[in-house]
Symmetry: C2
């Protein structure tokens, strides 16, 4: 692998991902970045982050990709990515939840990626709904 260069765009993006508690779509990222960064560039940087293990990619049940910085304990062996993702249908945010998912698999299946995405109403949105 050729070596990476430290650029403004990458720094901004990684800072943003680390600052945020939820996983971000391209759109979210674009909106939250202090500077305008080209769409293609954003995607390429994100793909590099994923390849380098700096972030992980979630494909939610809306068919879109969301990215989250890999937290401390976020090892990249497959087992470690068996955590939950929750997409709120009200506020449209995608969260990484720490809870692990348990299941069994028939003989002969070899898993490379885990993608467990639940959708519904998140805790803050259901709290708001209750209040009404």
């Amino acid at each position: 692998m050729s070596s990476r260069r430290r650029t403004e765009a990458q720094t901004q993006l990684l800072d943003l991902l680390r600052r945020e508690s939820t996983a971000l779509s391209h759109d979210d990222i674009s909106a939250k970045l202090p500077t305008d960064i080209n769409r293609v560039t954003i995607y390429r940087i994100l793909n590099r982050f994923v390849a380098d293990g700096l972030a992980h990619r979630i494909v939610a049940d809306d068919g879109r990709q969301y990215f989250a910085s890999c937290a401390d304990g976020c090892a990249h062996d497959t087992a470690a990515h068996g955590h939950l993702h929750f997409r709120c249908l009200v506020c449209d945010r995608v969260e990484c939840l720490p809870e692990q998912v348990a299941f069994s698999l028939p003989e002969g299946y070899r898993v490379e990626n885990y993608n467990v995405t639940l959708s519904g109403t998140c805790n803050s949105c259901s709290a708001l709904a209750e209040a009404n």
Copy 2:
């Protein structure tokens, strides 16, 4: 709800879904249908099937939608859809596996949809790989 009409296109599509053991993408369906049915029509029929509980929609980790007929025990309360989906990276087929997924969720989250998709190598493809 206005009542449904029995049409050739719908019958063909439902027959196909019932005949197949794997979940099908629009592309798969289009290729396997005996007659040409318009792309938009296929999508509309599928969406109707999902709304009517005749099929369920899986959004796999390639971001695409796959459809499978709802088998006998496939009740449509959320809990019943907590089964696994497996997308094979080799043969590109999406299977519904009967195994259930267990997890816990923090207080306040209300789940409406489950989407558990693993990807990797399916049993037949790993068997083929071993043989070489």
